[in-house]
Subunit: 418 residues, 4 copies
């Protein structure tokens, strides 16, 4: 057993950290104010803040680009768009790197490592045809376009994907797409050019896990409509945004189908696993950042004659936060290691475990940090209120806690069935 | 021991509930969209939605106005501006009424029962001179003007009021006011015309609990500046808003001082006690509303072949929520009854107890309801995300949990000191 | 709404408290060591400590006897065996009295208010024939004999009573009783002379809630065997004890049947409701006692230069305990008041609510007190370890938490069914 | 990063598991009944059950003996008394082995790996003179004698060791030992021949961390008295027992001092670190065993027409238990790895972290398992009630949670001090 990170992972994590501290941190507030200021001044709140484009260019120059590219699947792309010399990172190696990117809201976008684009790129990398990759994966890896994932629906409990009502039906050389989707993150981005859409294929002969199809739908196809952008806990998360979409008799070439008709469930599993792990990796970094803020504020401010951190049960909460973060990090690393060594099916329970445990841990640590900041903790003067919203949203995104607990229980109890 | 509400309390609670269901609920969403739509269309997001003014007029016609007016302090005002015939409500009687107003974000404003105006009116009622009352209390009770309370400061841990840095120094017939304040709720309202300001009197001879003065500062006094309006967990809470204020050499007549120089602590205690209890009463209603939404959604939507509410541990969470709400309500009623029968000093521990217990309870119940609503729970299509923010903010507003726990502990342990 | 206890309740509670402090407390440890010392010295650990008999006599002299006798059901018995002049106490009035008895393990036995005898007496009072009462109720109220309740079974999940396997089948003028039972508290007591036994009547025509019969089985009937006495969390709880019983072709007169064949469920409901409430009332007193011990120890002992109670989060835990106890007490009082004013069906949810909430609260408060006592908290030098066991056992006795949560959820959700 | 156990650790863990399942499990209940039966029949409850001696002999034959011997400190002893060929195990390698021994109460004694003997042997190994080792370590490693550790005192909060009142004062060639100690585990064992005693040296010149001395006190020295054996949560834990000891003018040779006068704190740190980790390793196994029992019972028993495990929130509790156990195991392994790679000072926070987190986790998992077992969970028919007591005691033994949280907080906050 060896808990030391590999030299490469350590080096990349250090470089990412340095970049965040020296390049991103000083402009992060400016970037965040961009949308609000645009609204006040009649500008476009959904434009990309210029500083973000500049940071992306700088990051890329330093080779800190597409760090998520998975070892074994990176193909030629790591060499063209990735970090150092054509080799992607294992999940275990990506973990400490992604943790660092989680310290800043901007960082994942800066390094082209943000959801949902990474998940969509991963789909294209693993399941796309060469034609699909040339058209969509290349510009995504290059940062020229953005994408969305249209799976969740407003009119059905989408945690049970068989509830899905939208359709993607083959009609000759085309696929006809209909239905309503929401929480399609990225739909607000001006560069968003394509959605991965999932719908029922309406194939009466298929079993219930082969009745859904995934298809690439260019955003400018007639019949595609972004009805509105949804606030999550009051925030629009510009420039990505969370879209409610309506697809009305949208026709795309059959060549846009991913893998084949009825294969959506398999792709969804392959897409969501790593995505969940990446979210958890980043939340570790976010929680660390929150704890740091709590300790900094708590040791500097005083009340009733003592540093805040020495009042009431605050020191115990610092200790509990440290224990909670360290436990969660180890759980994430272990899941990543299982993904690397045993593949997605060998890490099924562990991925669901971290999806439940890590956002809750982060919420709790951030909540404590907010409390230490008093009114400031509720404001946007500190990144805490936004961090909390992010952690909270992840208790629903990519499957609510309850579904993941159900999965962990099912796998555990399967040992006891005869 | 008798847990039945008085006939009058029951009647008022019923009428308020009917008003909310029939008059407010149908337009609540419209009122909430007002600010966002104003922003989109270049209008004034801080204007008062016309529908709110209409609702206020209707409520007043029905005698549902200033229900908070406290029995024993209401004086002539209950007759002129209150409910029925010149008698205010006891805390115990107000509790079920206020609970109903907590079911809707708009309702407290509709019935002229919203913080911080009620607290400010209470200060004027109990501590104001006739002149101060004529000038400020009358129009406040009449709903013609609004007010703010400027106590919390950005540069000091304000939970320890002796940390306060702002000053209110007598200079001849005037008081000179200087300093920075924030979280002055109401500062965004177009009708906000006066602040109750608290600052150090800089009296070297006074003991530490007599070194602060409260003074009425008209908003249009030179030197008063609303620097910005603060989002709380991303929300501006229009039309009230939470202001950051700067007071620079602001001069007001000495007659604007409340009670007398150095008396601010006493007034603050008298003001904050009932305010905290009112917040808690309303949170009970808010939590009930969230549980109803959870049960409605949970019994209607299905996943994996069952109503959502029957999945995983959801039914246990319904039961836990019921237990938590009922316990919290009883604790609030008991505190109200103690306030009525033993006065503020006899209810000191209980008021702090509910201030800690009730927002946490509400947060937990609302969190569960959000989870049952899936992505919808994060959106503003349901009142849950906003409700959660309200409960969360109340773990800091009017004293953070930690300070109230400290108070409860101090009173408990005082029994053991020799 | 009026939270003040009635003068009678207050007076009785005060007298009970005084009796406990002056008469019971000084000999409680001696009584508790009785069984252990008997074991060491080859005596009978199941004998009744003589001091207990003496205390009972004293209590009775002071009229503190059978305080549980329920108003409206007490009949002639309150006059003969009860407190003052022929009137039983309402549940609301009994609550503060029972709370005091909960402060001491011995007290319920001293005042003839202990489970399971109170529940069994209540069954006889409400459901017994005059003959059954003369034979069993009279000596029970008089304290001459003790009794057991044989419902739970080792071989089935007894929380679902329809799982029951034991039988009570009418055969001419007799009832034939067969089966295994366990957790029959009181079975170890030398004066235990009768069991209320519940078994399947094996009536094929009855619906599933009328297939069980309750019957009085004298302990000395041939075929009745106390197989062993069970430790609960390592404790035998002498002199009552928890018995595992075997009934083999036990024949008793048909006149021993309670109410009638097939009526057991109705009786069980009537018996268990008040029993659960009494347990909860006592647990409030037990938790108060634990908190007192924690505060006493915590303010007297020092470590790291401070009183223990000022270390870490201890003061916050004192505050949380105060909030938890006060909430729980109010919840219990409210359930008692509902029982009084609306009867058992009107308090169904509330009784289950307190059955879940109160033992957990007590466990937590006691756990904190143990922690403050260091190693002493685990020992029997303080009543904490025993108190904890008592609270823990009550999360299973009279229905596990899970079943009561299910009941609360069912009643809550019944509002939403169409 | 590599989470795979080494082949040697895996092999030993497997062999230990097999031994427990095939040799210990079948006789465990018999061994546990030994003391109770001795009490009933007038025998000696403190005798060693013969089956334990037999199991020790068998284990030793298979080389499963003194597995705790630490790599790098094992010296010649691993060859003579240890497992395979003279090499002790690293902490990382011992972890999975110790986890297995935690599944059974008897196992640690069977493999000569039980506290407090391992800790005492470790002290002799690391700090003993050759003479001290020859006299005490040899027979301890050989299993011929047992030992106790006399540190905690009844009259002072011993979590602050500077509170200690007992004395160990040099007087010429002797050390004079006085004072009261309790919770000296092992003091009830018939083979217990020596105590490691810690007391104040009363050296006015020494700083506060050099005022205590550790000294070896043979049990048969005049003035040594085992006043009584203490129950922990009602259990005596025979044959080890927890002793209250009185030392009255006990004189031992100065050669019995460990390391030197005033060196007790350093030794205590060195002794307690690994001991805490071993406890935590075993608790992981205990929690796994409890979860297995819960799943087995829960899938086999039915109520309300379903397996118990499918009722209410039980499946979620299974999932939460899996997450909690896996997190805790990783935290323990990480602490062990830090001990191996950075030594005790590099693992200071982590050892305190697991000391807090692991017993709580175990308590919660075991509590759930008890609840699934209904009344059986409270009885001694299942190992759950005993397991719970063990986990609970470890929240106080070797330092209460609060002290360890304080340590974690101190180390965390030291990063923020200037």
């Amino acid at each position: 057993m060896d808990f030391a990170p590999s030299p490469r992972a350590q080096d990349l994590a250090d470089r990412v950290r340095t970049f965040i501290d020296s390049e991103i941190a000083p402009v992060e507030e400016e970037a965040h104010r961009f949308a609000a200021e645009a609204r006040e001044s009649g500008g476009d709140p959904w434009a990309v803040p210029p500083v973000l484009r500049e940071l992306q260019a700088k990051a890329r120059e330093q080779g800190l680009w597409n760090l998520w590219l998975p070892a074994g699947h990176e193909g030629e792309y790591a060499e063209r768009y990735g970090t150092d010399g054509g080799v992607g990172l294992s999940n275990t190696d990506y973990a400490p790197v992604a943790e660092q990117t989680g310290r800043s809201f901007l960082a994942p976008m800066v390094f082209n490592c943000n959801a949902p684009d990474t998940g969509n790129m991963e789909v294209l990398l693993k399941y796309g045809t060469q034609e699909q990759r040339d058209r969509w994966l290349d510009p995504l890896l290059d940062g020229r376009i953005r994408s969305g994932f249209a799976m969740t629906e407003p009119d059905a409990a989408s945690s049970d994907a068989t509830n899905m009502q939208a359709t993607a039906v083959v009609d000759g050389d085309e696929v006809v797409v209909n239905g309503r989707k929401w929480w399609t993150t990225g739909a607000g981005h001006p560069d968003c050019e394509v959605f991965i859409f999932m719908g029922r294929s309406e194939d009466p002969d298929a079993d219930r896990h082969h009745q859904h199809t995934m298809v690439l739908v260019p955003r400018d196809t007639p019949g595609v409509e972004v009805v509105r952008l949804l606030p999550a806990m009051g925030r629009y998360d510009e420039p990505l945004g969370h879209g409610e979409l309506r697809f009305t008799d949208v026709r795309v070439p059959r060549a846009n189908v991913l893998v084949g008709e009825g294969q959506a469930f398999e792709i969804a599993q392959g897409r969501l696993g790593p995505g969940r792990v990446h979210h958890c990796m980043r939340l570790i970094g976010l929680a660390e950042r929150a704890l740091e803020l709590a300790c900094e504020r708590g040791t500097r401010r005083t009340a009733f004659g003592k540093p805040l951190i020495n009042l009431g049960g605050n020191r115990e909460r610092v200790a509990q936060a440290r224990i909670a973060i360290d436990s969660a990090r180890l759980l994430v690393l272990h899941a990543a290691w299982l993904l690397d060594t045993q593949g997605p099916w060998g890490a099924l329970s562990q991925v669901s475990q971290i999806k439940v445990a890590v956002p809750r841990m982060a919420q709790e640590v951030i909540d404590f940090a907010m409390q230490v900041h008093g009114g400031g903790g509720l404001s946007d003067d500190f990144p805490l209120a936004g961090a909390w919203t992010q952690a909270r949203a992840l208790r629903l995104a990519d499957g609510p806690d309850e579904v993941h607990l159900g999965m962990v229980a099912r796998l555990e109890l399967s040992k006891y069935k005869d």
